[in-house]
Amino acid sequence: MECIYTKSKALSAVPTSFCPGCMHGTAIKLIAEVSEELGIENDLVVVAPIGCAVFMGAFVEFDSFGSPHGRPGATGTGFKRSNPDVPLILYQGDGDCASIGLAETMHAANRGENFTVVMINNQVYGMTGGQAAPTTLPGQKTTTSPAGRAIEGTGYPIRLAELIAELKAPKYVTRQSLHTPKNVLAAKKAIKKALEIQINEGGYSFVELMSACPTNWKIDPKDAPKYMEDVVLKEFPVGDLKG
């Protein structure tokens, strides 16, 4: 029998430390697969900042560097401007990218920096134990919104992809989801397209990936895809926003 699907060689030979059902693993797997398909598995560099995203470096065979919480837009800029031929992914969480690092994110996008941001949107601060994030849904219970996120006082979920799509410089802005095989394949296609733009023509690309954090959502991982389909994607619709 012929092997038609197996673990990417760009993944390190260790299981990830993510919780069961966490879709960080899915996103990292896709980046690894795309890097192999594009033949850049030895060239790609990844910025993995604070948040659960920081673990990525340990589970891939790419060069990677950390960044203070929220700063990949800046560290990525410094790196890529000095190394314009090296393909670069900023692998960020939603708290990192849309809260503490909003300035860095928006300004890097606005300058049209030639790199790809992959933002995992799971609507909570996962690493610190499930606090409210800028992406937390209205009414969603978290450890810092025990009665559910109140619009009054905390505002609405930030749809970062839409904000970035408003800017002139970005070449490709999309929101995809990781909750079904079909969506996973679409997400992979989006990551590939973003990297191709970066490598072939140059320009900023932003891929938001809707993801599950069953541990902090306090739901069974098996039930997460249905919750995402029925609830989360109503607030964060998938699809290309630009490019």
């Binding site: 029998m1 012929e2 038609i4 699907y5 673990k7 960080h24 797997k29 098996k222």
Partner: protein
């Protein structure tokens, strides 16, 4: 002929693969792996069509597919 191979050491038993299998032939094992997870098992290998949906869905890259 088709089969899936589940790397017991990588599987965390999240069960995301169960629901996407069109033949419904994946389930949680009774045994646990070294980390204490009830890992995924294929129960009726002959029904497998090598559609890859389970492997695509798996967040832990634990599934290889053969045809």
């Amino acid at each position: 002929m088709a089969k899936v191979e589940i790397d017991v050491n990588y599987c965390k038993g999240c069960g995301l693969c169960f629901g996407v299998c069109p033949k419904n032939i994946l389930k949680a094992s009774e045994d646990v792996n070294a980390k204490g997870y009830n890992y995924a098992e294929q129960i009726d290998a002959e029904k497998c069509t090598a559609c890859k949906l389970c492997a695509i869905m798996c967040p832990d890259a634990a599934i290889s597919v053969y045809k």
